[in-house]
């Protein structure tokens, strides 16, 4: 739909632009500034060009945290999407239980993220956390502050608990949009449960699942709070994902140059993914 031209609208938008400029554009420019300079003891700067970018891109440390990040994102996507769809399929579509289920599903999403991290930190403590005690009670040695495997296990479990609900709610909305006639026709055609899922439900949910996948992809790539509160990036570097690493460099070591460069690289990666998001969505629409 075309919008009509209205010059007065610019006056309305001006205050917002000013605030945005102050909060987003200027800091971003500052980061860009830092990324191309070398700093010594605070206030002395030398222009270094692309030195930091090259350093970061070639650094093993960056590669390592990027790899960890990719494994993390890949794993949670592989679990959350199918699990979310399965739960959505199991949820009732009519009747009094619908609202109850929807509220239950929404609850994990309402908790502040650092609280999520804190909850799971305590929950998984081997000494007195319910989960920690239970697993250790089964005979499996479990301590997420010391074992890499346990740390990853807990991290992924926490993310799945926290974010699967989003996929469930999106998938459920997609399912509700399918008219009854399709199910009736499939029944009459003699389609099995699996055929109904494969030929009716999944294709009709495509749009919605695309959103779910890309949202989770972007969010998980930028994840910081929950893993930080849960493990602090440890044990050692085991769960140091991209954002955590970035903060360690910038604030911990106060190496502004590399940190700034890393931020920008990171920012561009997320931007590229958003662009993919946008293209895939609109290409789907054009075809539909």
């Amino acid at each position: 739909m075309d919008k009509t031209v209205n010059n007065r609208a610019w006056f309305m938008v001006l205050p917002v632009l000013v605030v945005m400029a102050f909060n987003a554009v200027i800091p971003l420019m500052t980061v860009v500034n830092y990324s191309v300079q070398e700093s010594f003891a605070g206030n002395v700067f030398f222009f270094e060009g692309t030195k930091w970018f090259e350093q970061v891109l070639h650094s093993d440390r960056f590669h390592a945290s990027l790899l960890r990040q990719l494994i993390f994102t890949g794993t949670i996507l592989a679990i959350e999407i199918p699990l979310g769809v399965a739960i959505a399929l199991a949820m009732p579509r009519k009747g009094p239980w619908v609202s109850v289920c929807l509220v239950l599903m929404a609850l994990p999403l309402l908790i502040p993220w650092n609280v999520v991290g804190a909850i799971w930190n305590i929950f998984a403590l081997p000494s007195f956390g319910l989960l920690g005690r239970a697993i250790n009670g089964l005979g499996i040695s479990y301590n997420f502050t010391r074992d890499v495997g346990a740390a990853w296990f807990t991290l992924i479990l926490m993310d799945v608990w926290h974010w699967t609900s989003l996929v469930v709610l999106l998938a459920y909305a997609g399912l509700m949009a399918i008219p009854d006639a399709y199910y009736q026709a499939a029944k009459i055609d003699g389609a099995s449960r699996w055929s109904v899922f494969r030929f009716i439900q999944l294709p009709k949910m495509r749009r919605v699942l695309t959103i779910a996948v890309l949202l989770r992809l972007m969010d998980s790539f930028m994840i910081y709070t929950e893993p930080f509160v849960l493990t602090g990036g440890g044990p050692g570097n085991a769960t140091t994902l991209l954002s955590i690493d970035l903060v360690k460099i910038a604030l911990g070591q106060f190496d502004l140059g590399p940190a700034a460069a890393m931020s920008l690289i990171y920012f561009l990666m997320v931007l590229a993914m958003s662009w993919v998001f946008y293209t895939v969505m609109t290409r789907d629409e054009a075809r539909a």
């Binding site: 009736q184 026709a185 389609a191 294709p203 009709k204």
Partner: protein
């Protein structure tokens, strides 16, 4: 094809129906001959879709039983009853080609190879879909998609009945003609029991050999299109069938005369006097407009030119009356006379047709 019998069938959507009003379909007994073409005709909410869904197995009746060829199928699923249904909105599997769509019901039943291919191609040919067999189904127009839905029903070799739920709703008027006559031809070729639900009388009358008129969950009349047109046995049927419907005028009837708004109109049968609410009904096709003085005087309020014919909206006293006039007729002025064809005048008491003595 199967003979379908409905015995003492009724249905309520509520959990504990008590009064009549709770029932969407009130108790009916009905039989459909094997291979017949039937239409369930009635306004929204009359229960026709409920009846169709009970027959197809998508709903389980609150009361009564359904028999296919004498076998009680009330508890059986749609698949077990072996019926095919075409819905109002074309239902196609978007991810498949036209060919795969048509083959789907057969594949689900274990048919494959040469048998599958020849059957699919035969049905595609019958429906004029051969050219689009390899195209993705979602790209086709609405009427082509509806043909695919139809095809999926036809492709199964021994379907007990084909049920249509207002299938032409989304089709363009121009294409409706083609699809309608194709459905009728299909019935001749395939000879399956076909039951067609609609609120459009043209669709019902052109398709079916037997029309079942329904209203408020009950069956009002069953008959051939001709019978329903010539002898509506309820004023509702007279009103519902025909465009415009039958004229219904309150009258006092005794002997062979009906008195309407003070004017006497001759009838061709003798009727007893009665204190029930009496009305006479006559279709606009059988009321003739004549020069002033030669019949019952009326005021001409408006003349609608409908192309094929003209419709004169007149008033007899305060009573509205529709008169159908030929397309070439020249009408002028605002007064005229009408004559009623006595053979086509029906007498209704309390809405029900009464037969007079000759």
């Amino acid at each position: 094809m199967a003979r379908i019998d409905l015995v003492n069938l009724a249905h309520s959507y509520g959990t504990r129906p008590r009064a009549d009003g709770d029932y969407a379909l009130k108790t009916i007994d009905l039989s459909f001959k094997a291979g017949g073409a039937y239409a369930l005709l009635g306004p929204s909410g009359c229960g026709k879709t409920t009846l169709l869904n009970l027959m197809s197995g998508l709903l389980t009746p609150t009361q009564g039983s359904i028999l296919f060829d004498g076998v009680d199928v009330t508890e059986r699923t749609s698949e077990e009853r072996n019926i095919a249904q075409v819905f109002q909105f074309p239902v196609v599997y978007d991810t498949m080609t036209v060919y795969d769509n048509l083959a789907f019901p057969l594949r689900n039943r274990g048919v494959s190879g040469e048998a599958l291919d020849s059957r699919v191609r035969k049905i595609a040919d019958m429906l004029g879909l051969t050219a689009s067999l390899n195209q993705p189904a979602r790209r086709l127009t609405a009427d082509a998609k509806q043909k695919i839905s139809l095809g999926r029903g036809l492709v199964r070799p021994s379907v007990s009945a084909m049920l249509f739920d207002e299938p032409l709703t989304v089709i363009d008027p121009q294409l409706k003609w083609q699809l309608r006559s194709q459905l009728k031809q299909l019935h001749r070729q395939v000879a399956t029991t076909m039951i067609y639900v609609t609120h459009d009388q043209t669709e019902a009358l052109t398709f079916a050999d037997t029309v079942i008129v329904m209203f408020d969950g009950r069956i009002v009349q069953i008959g051939t299109p001709e019978e329903l047109f010539e002898r509506p046995n309820h004023t509702f049927v007279g009103y519902f069938i025909g465009s415009p419907g039958m004229n219904v005028l309150p009258a006092a009837v005794e002997g062979a005369v009906a008195v309407v708004a003070g004017h006497s109109i001759p009838l061709d049968r003798q009727y007893e006097k009665s204190s029930a609410k009496t009305e006479i009904g006559i279709r606009p096709e059988f009321v003739h407009l004549a020069e002033s003085g030669q019949g019952v005087p009326v005021r001409i309020k408006r003349i609608d030119d409908v192309g094929r014919y003209k419709l004169a909206r007149v008033t007899l006293g305060t009573l509205p009356l529709n008169v159908m006039v030929g397309e070439d007729a020249k009408l002028s002025g605002d007064t005229g006379s009408v004559q009623f064809d006595p053979r086509r005048l029906h007498v209704y008491r309390d809405g029900e047709l009464v037969d007079g003595r000759v």
